[in-house]
Symmetry: C2
Subunit: 138 residues, 2 copies
Amino acid sequence: MSYEIEQLLLKHGVKPTPQRAVITQFLLSTHSHPTADEVFQAVSESLPVPLSRATVYNTLNCLVEAGVLIEVVVEPGKSRYDANTTQHHHFVDTESGKIIDVRPEEVKNLPLKLSEGFLDGAFDVEDYRITFFGKRKS
Amino acid sequence: MSYEIEQLLLKHGVKPTPQRAVITQFLLSTHSHPTADEVFQAVSESLPVPLSRATVYNTLNCLVEAGVLIEVVVEPGKSRYDANTTQHHHFVDTESGKIIDVRPEEVKNLPLKLSEGFLDGAFDVEDYRITFFGKRKS
DNA sequence: GTCTACAGTTAGAATTATTCTAAGTAGTGT
DNA sequence: ACACTACTTAGAATAATTCTAACTGTAGAC
């Protein structure tokens, strides 16, 4: 397993195992926001040892807890995963279903501020995500 | 069934049936963003006729298609439904899991504009939703 | 008024995504 | 080598949703 992946996992307090490394490696190499099953498909092809679905789910949950990955929920029924853990947003192409990362700088007028209302008054807002919907220009 | 509900369904091209009316009625009466199962539980108690889960799912999908409801996906595994179809955002209380509607006016600096970038250049952004995460102030 | 057609509803089976369980495996420290 | 612990495994179990095929019930044709 590559030194960089090993260091990344260690830095987040995750014991580096071959399965975890290869799953992390795959997610770092793509911007396609794959589902757990897509990770399973892609990784089991390129792995010398057999890989269980349970391990994929365990690993993804573990990596999300540790902050190595972000879980992205934009459509009902399944979660998607993103190794880009910097603050960013998502654009969903409603025709293809593809999800594209949107850097905060691409959105004007950020950071958002809440006005003085019940939300700002009663709650601590720790984070926010914007999901854009639209279509590719023809 | 109430005249208002009947008119609302007709206006959206949905044939008003008792099941659809009572499900719509329930969603209009709450701000709790219930899941399909919560709708089923709540409605089957107050309905004289038996209600099938399939009907709940059929009806919710039908009402979302017709624009009577919005489907809200903030947590993995299940969809939630919201009869508030005006443009708005959501705040998720990460401790209780409760979802609270946020009116656009509560967020300063809106409407957002995309800067001149690949996203703005290649895609037509039709809509966006902001999901806030945080906790109730103690 | 009856008949027919069709859309809506139903119970339960099937499917899909995810988690659980119990057993097996490997690496680390002793 | 030995035991401890954490990881992985296959398959069972669960949960959310969709499918299927049979059963209404109502609207329009006659």
